[in-house]
């Protein structure tokens, strides 16, 4: 097994008596594409927070390959090869599209290296390729602040690609996108998933169906059901808590 997989076992997160995650276990194989659905407050975002080091679990194991993620901060986890796209697109407004991607590009991350960094031809080519992919080539020199909501979504996906991660966590990527863009995104994620693991949190069931992947249903911080989209949609427990009401 060359690429690492994600392994979560018995993870609980308690805020002031409120159990945001309750004994959650989840395994994502290397190269797998996984969709995660669940009603509001099911713990989807908290799960992402735990994996990326933003929140420390109260109990449980979180591993990525051999690395124990519960002991690392966000930056180290990111450098392990875990990239995250937020629900609300966050890009650097004051920087141009090109510069946003340049910052995300896989390269030494310490201040000294950044001070001495010179953009090589190969790096420039990679950035241009990704700009092509996300359809922002024409906007390379524009500050991110003036992009539309959909373009910001794309820019953030582009930044994820620049990071070249082994595991991508994507939170509601198609919010605010047109149908065509949604389709494009689904295709992109499917294609990426061949070489790396992708976890997608989404509300849009059409989009999840388009991903054509295993689906995990969360409810009140625990795993409710797992399987193909059809299996899940026909699971009576899922129908009760999520689809039926």
């Amino acid at each position: 097994m060359s690429k690492p997989g994600l392994y979560m076992d018995g993870v609980s997160v308690v805020f002031d008596g409120f159990r945001a995650l309750n004994n959650l276990s989840l395994i994502v194989d290397p190269g797998e594409l996984r969709a995660i659905i669940g009603p509001n407050g099911a713990g989807k975002t908290t799960m992402m927070d735990v994996i990326t080091g933003k929140t420390r679990p109260t109990a449980g194991t979180v591993r990525f390959g051999d690395a124990d993620l519960t002991r690392m901060d966000e930056a180290r986890i990111a450098n392990l090869g875990i990239g995250r796209k937020f629900q609300k697109p966050t890009v650097f407004d004051a920087l141009t599209v090109f510069e946003n991607l340049e910052l995300a590009l896989k390269a030494p991350r310490d201040p000294w290296s950044c001070l001495r960094w010179a953009l090589g031809g190969e790096a420039r080519k990679r950035i241009e390729t990704v700009m092509e992919e996300i359809g922002l080539s024409a906007r390379a020199g524009d500050p991110a602040a003036i992009l539309s909501h959909g373009q910001r979504q794309w820019l953030e996906i582009g930044m994820l690609l620049m990071q070249d991660p082994d595991l991508l966590l994507v939170d509601e990527p198609v919010a605010g996108m047109t149908d065509q863009e949604t389709e494009h995104t689904a295709a992109l994620l499917r294609r990426i998933a061949g070489t790396r693991s992708v976890v997608v949190v989404e509300h849009d069931l059409e989009f999840v169906r388009a991903l054509n992947s295993r689906v995990t249903v969360l409810h009140e911080g625990t795993l409710l059901s797992e399987g193909s989209i059809d299996t899940v949609q026909n699971d009576p427990r899922v129908i009760e808590v999520y689809l039926g009401r």
Partner: protein, 531 residues
């Protein structure tokens, strides 16, 4: 920080009360005593040996007329002209009529006379009609340490009815017994001193220890017992001073806990609102001067006035400027700092840069003596009581009133609150006005223990922020614990490090504490805190 020497006004009142009394006594004295007084008096104009003898006789006579004479002698304001002894006001001490002061010279004394004076003055004052005077007398007898004092003290104790004075007299008696010739009397003295809780008693015993090698064991036991009580006393006084400082911090920080802790608005002009409150107190006091019966109540009147003034200033600041900067805390910080500057300068120009005096009403003055020799200044006690009262009112306002409910609703979810018909803008303004008003009330309290000057507030603003951050932003109970904790911590460190380094140390401790608990003692946890 201490405002004025606490003893000074008290001493003045004692003098004004004592003098008429003396005059009455002057005319009511029995003839026999008059003779003894007149007999002894000329001795004061003689040589040092004669003087000492005369002093002893005057002291033993118990004649109240001797008191001003001996006092003048001890202050070097007594003059003599031949054998006539002249009081500082130019009257003949023997007749009370104006004396011939031409060629008069100051009566000079030596150390022997001075020590005789101490005892004599003390003994004379032991029979004073005023309790404070008798207390002071017992004190001076205690220090003069002469076996001759035993008899007058025993007589005084028999007559004494005020417990505080009696206690002091008994101590003085014990001290006098310590130098008695009779070993049994001495032992009695040691035993009584062992029950005291003062440094003086301890020092006396240690002195006696060297002089009486045969009584070392008893003395050591007595000293040990004093030490344990002194440790307690010191701890209690440190605690009180800490709580006193803490209550000041609490008052200053409560308003911040509302505006910064609850609303998230960082108001650097908060200290200036405190200052406005203090100046309001001054203005109210000056306004009350014209109405004498109102004057003692000017301080309670200032509380609502200061709340109003600072509250209005706060409303103006919030509506006029701060609300344009919501969501930009760093800008708000800078802007309000500028407003603070303007307020300071405006007050400086209006009232002058020098300190303004705000008097304490009589009912707040004086010292409260608790058992165990613990002394507490009353105005500081009032500040503690006041701060807790204000805290209670604040909690009640937030938890029990409609305004409090709306305020909490807006804090938790502005949009939902707005959709439920709460006018969020009005709630913001009222909340800010409330927090600023609290600052004004803090100013009333601070006027009692600190100088009222234009930069009164700057000394408190950083400490107040530290209290809020230390206690946990958004928690009033955290503010209480933070303020009291920091106050006590400060006073505990102070004896070792001095006041300034104690402050520095506290700042460092807070910084290290924030490392462990970045959200303070009483942190909001969970999702609400993340937002």
């Amino acid at each position: 920080m201490e405002k004025r020497a606490a003893g000074q006004p008290a001493a003045r009142t004692i003098m004004t009360r004592i003098l008429p009394l003396l005059l009455v006594l002057l005319f009511a004295l029995p003839a026999a005593a008059q003779d003894a007084f007149l007999d002894a008096l000329p001795g004061l104009a003689g040589g040092f040996g004669t003087q000492a003898e005369a002093v002893e006789r005057l002291g033993a006579g118990g004649d109240a007329r001797a008191l001003p004479v001996l006092r003048a002698l001890s202050d070097s304001t007594l003059r003599k002209n031949g054998s006539t002894v002249i009081l500082p006001d130019g009257t003949d001490a023997a007749t009370g009529r104006p004396a011939d002061t031409a060629g008069a010279e100051t009566v000079r004394i030596n150390n022997r006379v001075r020590s005789a004076l101490r005892g004599a003055l003390g003994r004379l004052q032991l029979v004073s009609a005023h309790a404070d005077e008798r207390y002071a007398a017992a004190d001076s007898v205690f220090r003069s340490r002469s076996a001759d004092n035993v008899a007058p003290l025993e007589a005084a104790i028999a007559r004494e009815s005020v417990p505080r004075v009696k206690e002091r007299q008994q101590l003085a008696l014990a001290a006098s017994r310590l130098v008695a010739a009779d070993a049994a009397v001495k032992r009695q003295g040691i035993a009584t001193l062992g029950e005291a809780s003062s440094e003086d008693a301890r020092a006396l015993l240690l002195e006696a220890r060297a002089a009486n090698p045969d009584m070392t064991a008893e003395i050591d036991r007595a000293v040990a017992s004093i030490d344990s009580r002194l440790t307690f006393k010191r701890a209690a006084e440190t605690l009180f001073q800490g709580l006193s400082l803490g209550s000041v911090l609490l008052l200053a920080a409560l308003g911040l806990a509302i505006t910064f802790g609850v609303m998230g608005v960082i108001n650097m002009a908060h200290g200036e609102f405190v200052m406005l409150g203090a100046y309001t107190t001054f203005v109210v006091q000056e306004a009350c001067r014209g109405i004498p019966w109102l004057l003692p109540w000017s301080l309670p009147l200032s509380v609502p006035a200061a709340f109003l003034v600072a509250g209005l200033a706060g409303t103006a600041l919030e509506r006029g400027l701060i609300r344009h900067l919501y969501g930009r805390p760093l800008e708000t910080l800078l802007m309000t700092f500028g407003v603070g500057m303007i307020l300071q300068q405006a007050v400086r120009l209006a009232f002058g840069a020098q300190n303004r005096e705000v008097l304490s009403p009589a009912w707040m003055q004086g010292i409260l003596s608790l058992p165990g020799g613990i002394n507490i200044t009353q105005n500081r006690l009032w500040v503690i009581v006041f701060s807790l009262l204000v805290l209670g009112l604040t909690l009640a306002a937030i938890r029990l009133t409609r305004f409090g409910l709306e305020m909490r609703a807006v804090v938790q979810n502005r949009r939902t609150a707005a959709t439920m018909g709460i006018r969020t803008g009005r709630v913001d303004a009222l909340t800010f006005a409330f927090g600023s008003g609290l600052a004004g009330m803090a100013g009333v309290a601070l006027s009692q223990i600190d100088n009222v000057s234009p930069n009164l507030g700057t000394g408190y603003i950083i400490d107040s922020f530290m209290v809020v951050v230390f206690g946990g932003v958004g928690s009033l109970i955290g503010t209480l614990v933070g303020a009291m904790g920091l106050g006590v911590l400060n006073k505990v460190i102070e004896p070792w490090a001095g006041a300034v380094l104690a402050k520095v140390a506290v700042l460092v401790i807070i910084m290290l504490f924030i490392q462990r608990r970045p959200r303070g003692l009483f942190a909001l946890k969970g999702r609400a805190a993340e937002a």
